[in-house]
């Protein structure tokens, strides 16, 4: 776990104002927005503090704030990208905002993936469904300095072909010969022209059987997928301390005060959201 660097002497609850400069529909109900800071000083502060894995609170005044990761990499800090599923009051309001509209952002908060520790190692990224966005931030942060890492494998599964997010980037990764991409959809989720695998992520991962030798795994997905994928990684010989994941608990402040995101004694907003599987194993499992 790393130190938090963000401690400017200002109203900690006051959000930055961001302009939506682009938006893109990824999958049914899932949208990506690219946001730009309006205040250069706030942008500078973001550039100084943002590292891959950190999260923010995105909002629309009158509706509230919602917590999700920064989906863009730490190697591209001119903007913030976020990807979210329209499901509640805030995400519905965000989904109805158009290019040119203004939204609010607080962050970046939390800890990060320590990618310097991954230098020289092989990387295995595993994501399920809407959890590709946090993984994608790390993926690009590494691909933008590709020479520093060994073999890169990405295993990504979604319920159906339509539910795969970042389809254009998946194509790009598919074409790269320095990235090994394994795509899968759940049984029944395939389309007639689907050329990739059919199966759940843990099974597909075990079939792909990436070597655990000198390899770090980054795993993001719904709790049930994480649980089974951790078993698969164990079978493949991965140590828990070499598997990184993120916890996504409900938050209001993001600052360690509002009291709801903790799992046991661990405040996800300050000590997370990035944890190794070894750290997660020490938490009270019933509270996850």
């Amino acid at each position: 776990m790393t130190e938090n660097i963000h401690s400017a002497p200002q109203n900690i609850y006051k959000p930055a104002i961001m302009k939506i400069v682009a938006r893109h529909d990824e999958a049914p109900g899932v949208r990506t927005m690219r946001l730009e800071f309006q205040d250069p000083a706030e942008h500078e502060q973001f550039k100084e503090t943002f590292r891959t894995g950190m999260f923010g609170l995105y909002g629309i005044y009158g509706e509230g704030e919602s917590t999700f990761c920064v989906a863009s990499p730490e190697t591209r800090k001119e903007y913030i990208e976020c990807t979210f599923r329209q499901s509640g009051r805030v995400t519905s309001a965000l989904a109805s905002a158009d290019v040119g509209d203004l939204v609010t952002f607080r962050g970046p908060y939390g800890n990060r993936f320590p990618i310097e520790d991954f230098y020289g190692k092989n990387l295995l990224f595993i994501a399920g469904g809407i959890a590709l966005p946090p993984t994608r931030s790390v993926i690009w942060s590494c691909l933008d300095q590709r020479e520093k890492f060994g073999k890169v494998t990405i295993v990504y599964g979604a319920r159906t072909v339509a539910d795969l997010v970042y389809k254009h980037e998946l194509e790009e990764w598919q074409k790269r010969d320095d990235v090994d991409l394994v795509l899968a959809v759940d049984p029944g989720g395939e389309s007639p022209d689907w050329k990739h695998r059919v199966g759940f992520v843990p099974t597909v991962l075990e079939e792909a059987a990436p070597s655990a030798e000198n390899c770090v795994a980054v795993l993001c997905g719904p709790p049930i997928m994480i649980k089974f994928t951790l078993n698969s990684l164990k079978k493949l010989g991965f140590e828990e301390s070499n598997v990184y994941t993120t916890l996504e608990n409900r938050m209001k402040c993001g600052l360690g005060k509002c009291g709801r995101c903790n799992v046991g004694s661990v405040y996800v907003c300050k000590e997370g959201p990035v944890f190794t599987a070894a750290e997660v194993a020490l938490m009270p499992q019933a509270d996850l």
């Binding site: 963000h6 002497p9 900690i12 104002i17 509230g64 402040c253 005060k257 004694s265 996850l288």
Partner: protein, 337 residues
């Protein structure tokens, strides 16, 4: 010889403080509820009750408070911060447990990120506590390494005289000394004895409880279900608690103008931790009660080196189903033997 403040001078004190620009706050009884409220004169003060029904926290962390006002125009969003309009103030007649509660929460509101809404009020408030000479069966400060005359969190501590006609004055901080300079000539030097402080029996062994709570095996003990089966999840205990600090952030208004508010929230509520997906990490009342106890006596002391409880006993005293921290910790004390 100690400084003595006689009760018949109290009205003059209130006047002096008010004319020195301090607003005076103290326990006031209104509509059958005693709470810390602004007072105009000493006659407004209700100092005989064991402790006010409502805790002191609402003067620093109100039930609801605006954090910012927003207005949205075609190409601009304007955020106007609403920092608390406090001004210097003095709280006269706080109970030591209430004052301690504030000191317990300071590190929480200050770790890494400083909450101005809390600290602006803390920095402008002088707290004059009165040691307790009465207690009831719910008081439990002594079980938490505090006492009826704890000085933690207070700027001045007053000890009631045996005669009942005033208080010995113990100035504890510069802020307290400064406030008492304004009433210096109303104080008398004297040797009058102070009344004995209240006897508060130890009800549980907090250290043994914390140790039991730290043992991961006890996290899924049947005990949690049994002890919390009566809990109706009303949240009263958390609202009355001087140290419970959980809050929600909500917007009130429309697309053009409105207020973003910080509101009390409670770990007793089912929706508190509910994820968007419908998954709820604390989906049962027993999991939520466990969280409350764990937080106060295991997680919080682990982070901030103090139990998140000052022993005021309000949670138990006013619980509609007669539950409370005391009973739970007494049971844990037994289990840990």
């Amino acid at each position: 010889m100690t400084k003595i403040l006689y009760t018949d001078k109290l009205d003059n004190c209130v006047e002096r403080w008010r004319s020195a620009g301090l607003s005076v706050i103290g326990p006031v009884r209104n509509a059958n509820i005693t709470a810390y409220r602004p007072v105009g004169s000493a006659a407004d003060l209700e100092l005989s009750q064991i402790l006010p029904d409502r805790s002191i926290k609402e003067l620093f962390f109100p039930q609801t408070e605006p954090m910012m006002r927003y207005s949205i125009k075609k190409d601009a969003i304007n955020t106007e911060e609403c920092l608390p309009p406090v001004g210097p103030r003095i709280i006269f007649g706080a109970r030591p447990c209430d004052a301690s509660g504030l000191a317990i929460d300071d590190p929480l509101f200050g770790w890494d990120y400083k909450d101005e809404y809390w600290f602006n009020r803390r920095n402008e408030t002088v707290i004059v506590s009165i040691a307790c000479t009465k207690s009831d069966e719910f008081c439990m400060c002594t079980s938490l390494k505090l006492s009826p005359d704890s000085t933690k969190g207070s700027d001045v501590l007053l000890r009631p005289l045996e005669s009942g006609k005033g208080w010995q004055v113990e100035e504890l901080t510069d802020r307290g000394r400064e406030a008492f300079k304004a009433i210096a000539e109303l104080l008398t030097e004297g040797a009058e004895a102070a009344a004995p402080t209240a006897v508060v029996a130890e009800k549980f062994d907090a250290d043994a409880c914390s140790e039991w709570l730290r043992n991961p095996e006890n996290f899924e003990s049947r005990f949690w279900k049994e002890i919390s089966v009566r809990c109706i999840g009303c949240g009263s205990c958390t609202y009355l608690c001087p140290t419970c600090h959980c809050f929600d952030i909500q917007d009130e208004g429309d697309t053009f103008t409105g207020i973003r508010r910080k509101n009390w929230d409670s770990c007793s509520f089912a929706l508190f931790t509910m994820h968007t997906s419908g998954h709820n990490p604390r989906s049962t009342q027993s999991a939520r009660w466990r969280q409350r106890i764990m937080h106060k006596f295991n997680y919080f002391p682990g982070k901030f080196s103090a139990n998140s409880c000052s022993g005021c006993g309000r949670c138990t005293r006013q619980c509609p189903v007669d539950m409370g921290i005391t009973e739970t910790l007494q049971e844990i004390s037994k289990l840990s033997q």
